[in-house]
Amino acid sequence: MDAFKEHVGRVVPLDRINVDTDQIIPKQFLKRIERTGFGEFLFYDWRYLENGDPNPEFVLNLPRYAGASILIAGVNFGCGSSREHAPWALQQYGFKAILAPSFADIFRNNCYKNGILPIALPADVITSLSQEARDTEGYQLMIDLEQQSVICADGTAHNFEIGDFEKYCLLNGLDEIGWTLQYEADIAVYENR
């Protein structure tokens, strides 16, 4: 997994609550046996028209948000299916962080395993950052994981919570399986008790 320390990137606001993983990556793309190649199918049914052309009204297709790497969304982002294809698609599209008032549990876990930072901020902060992104072309945010802070261009900082272990894993790009295997003796003791 790639380490995550700091990131500066363009912000795109997706004004929807309860975005489920069926929308993030529809089921017809889950038949692949590889871990890669999902980015082009991200938000497929919203992003493309019936004939396969990009939907010019969908926010990710607006030229002003091209190259965005920070997604802002409504409450309970990533609900529904446990498919890890959802964070794979987000990451492979180019997203490094997602800002929302809340996340679904399984999705949030899956993000950490793939070097994506899910950042929960109060609803009023999300609303105002989302408005800034709409009002200001090329709007960017800086994310400092070490400081647990989202920093605006004017210097305003919004602190966020993250578990110590998740933070450690992201900062170091840690292989979690390797971490657990260092306690192999404890696992064996448990199994033989």
């Binding site: 004004d15 498919r83 793939n114 399986i177 657990t180």
Partner: protein, 466 residues
């Protein structure tokens, strides 16, 4: 200290738990299917790791298997490749597999309990969010992603933080025509689709105690639809009777000893939960969803809501989106909504008792000319049992298609999908946009309601169905 059932199972499965470390939780059973596992096995190979406990791992094919004649070749070559990959991985890593030709094949959450793999007090995981189903027998069962599948394959453990506890207590007697499906839909309507986030729900109360194990599975199955990490119900005599004689369940003296252990699992009297909610079973009516998530639900006697009545701007916008997608107008009575398709199946409602309930409604009646209806048993064993009871004949005579076992049109990864614009009464668990097919419109209901809707061609209050 007084403990909840979740806390008891959690504590007895900790391999390591130091204050400054993330806890390592032991996993007793790992269920695997074809869609979320290939990248996990590939990860093992890339890192030269093996499966630690193939004897605690069970695999089946369910998500993208066709439900038509099994003798025919699979036409979707990408799906076939995924099934082939699972078979190769199970062979390479020595994992028992109930493949498409196995008499035990079925939806992973149907066959686990059916085979006696699911037992009280166990920790059970699967790369599927509906793993919460297994909590119906008093197990701690939850869905995980592919990275975590790889983690469990390699270590038989997960790095986990302890969840909050949430008691949802339902006392009283369910009225006629109201089912386990209506209980869980009513709960989700009440607390919302994120109302259980961060928590493990324990369902308690006299209405829950009165449910059969299969009905309890329907309730626990949709815990994830309220955002809960898991759902569970304390084991009791109903549970022990269900488990007795199942293939992998303990037998004889070992069974008696196991029951003595399981009796220690229920939440201690006076133990406290982080959150609680109480509902009265007598006040629950048959439920029908009208929108694009399971929390967008109302009584069958209700109406499609008006976005203008929503409490927040976000909810108003979400309701407008949902009504546009569903092609519904505010104020429309639910019973005025016609359907094109009916799907009876999925890990929520495809067990023998679900099929019996639907068959009782379908018996001697005909599916409306405007409706195409199908029944997909949850497993080959359910299918055999239904056929032994003549349920397949009842369904066929009424005009339902009778299919082979699998997830089918719950998520439409196989050829069973809705066409754009088609409206479906479905016994499955998710009415998300495009879930059953791009542009398809899903309304979640109980098996009885689905069968009655197939007959009348529009939603009908099962309590008044003649």
């Amino acid at each position: 200290m007084k403990k909840t059932m979740y806390e008891k199972i959690w504590e007895t499965h900790l391999v390591r738990a130091s204050a400054d470390e993330v806890p390592i939780l032991y996993i007793d059973t790992h269920l695997v299917h074809e869609v979320t596992s290939p990248q996990a096995f590939e990860g093992l190979r890339l890192n030269n790791r093996k499966v630690r406990r193939p004897d605690l791992t069970f695999a089946t094919m369910d998500h993208n298997v066709p439900t038509t004649d099994r003798a025919l070749p699979i036409t979707d070559l990408i799906a076939a490749k995924q099934m082939e990959t699972l078979a190769e991985n199970c062979s390479e890593f020595d994992i028992p597999l109930y493949d498409i030709d196995s008499p035990e094949q079925g939806i992973v959450h149907v066959i686990g309990p059916e085979l006696g793999i699911t037992l009280p007090g166990k920790t059970i995981v699967c790369g599927d969010s509906h793993t919460s189903t297994h909590g119906a027998l008093g197990a701690l069962a939850f869905g995980i992603g592919t990275s975590e599948i790889e983690h469990v394959l390699a270590t038989q453990c997960l790095l986990q933080q302890e969840s909050e506890t949430f008691e949802i207590r339902i006392d009283g007697t369910l009225p006629y025509g109201v089912t386990a499906k209506d209980i869980i839909l009513a709960i989700i309507g009440h607390i919302g689709i994120d109302g259980g986030n961060g928590a493990v729900v324990e369902y308690t109360g006299s209405a829950i105690r009165a449910l059969s194990i299969e009905e309890r599975m329907t309730v626990c199955n949709m815990s994830i639809e309220a955002g809960a990490r898991a759902g569970m119900i304390a084991p009791d005599d109903t549970t022990y009777e269900y488990i007795a004689g199942k293939r992998f369940a303990p037998k004889g003296e070992a069974f008696d000893a196991a029951v003595e252990g399981w009796k220690q699992l229920p939440t201690d009297e006076d133990a406290t939960y982080d959150r609680t909610l109480q509902l009265d079973a007598a006040e629950i009516a048959p439920q029908v969803t009208w929108g694009t998530n399971p929390g967008m639900v109302t009584d069958v006697t209700g109406h499609v809501p008006d976005p203008a009545d929503m409490a927040t701007v976000d909810e108003k916008t979400a309701t407008e989106h949902a009504l546009a997608y569903m092609d519904l107008k505010p104020g429309t009575p639910i019973t005025d909504i016609p359907v094109d398709r009916v799907f009876i199946g999925s890990c929520t409602n495809s067990r023998i008792s679900d099929l019996r309930a639907a068959a009782e409604v379908a018996k001697g009646r005909k599916v409306a000319d405007t409706v195409s209806a199908m029944v997909v048993p949850g497993s080959q064993a359910v299918k055999r049992q239904a056929e032994a009871e003549g349920l397949d004949e009842i369904f066929r005579a009424a005009g339902f298609e009778w299919r082979e076992a699998g997830c089918s049109m719950c998520l439409g990864m196989n050829p069973d999908t809705l066409l754009p614009g088609q409206r479906c009464a479905s016994t499955s668990n998710r009415n998300f946009e495009g879930r059953q097919g791009k542009g398809g419109r899903t309304h979640l209901v109980s098996p009885q309601m689905a069968a009655a809707t197939a007959v009348t061609g529009r939603f009908v209050d099962i309590r008044q169905f003649q």
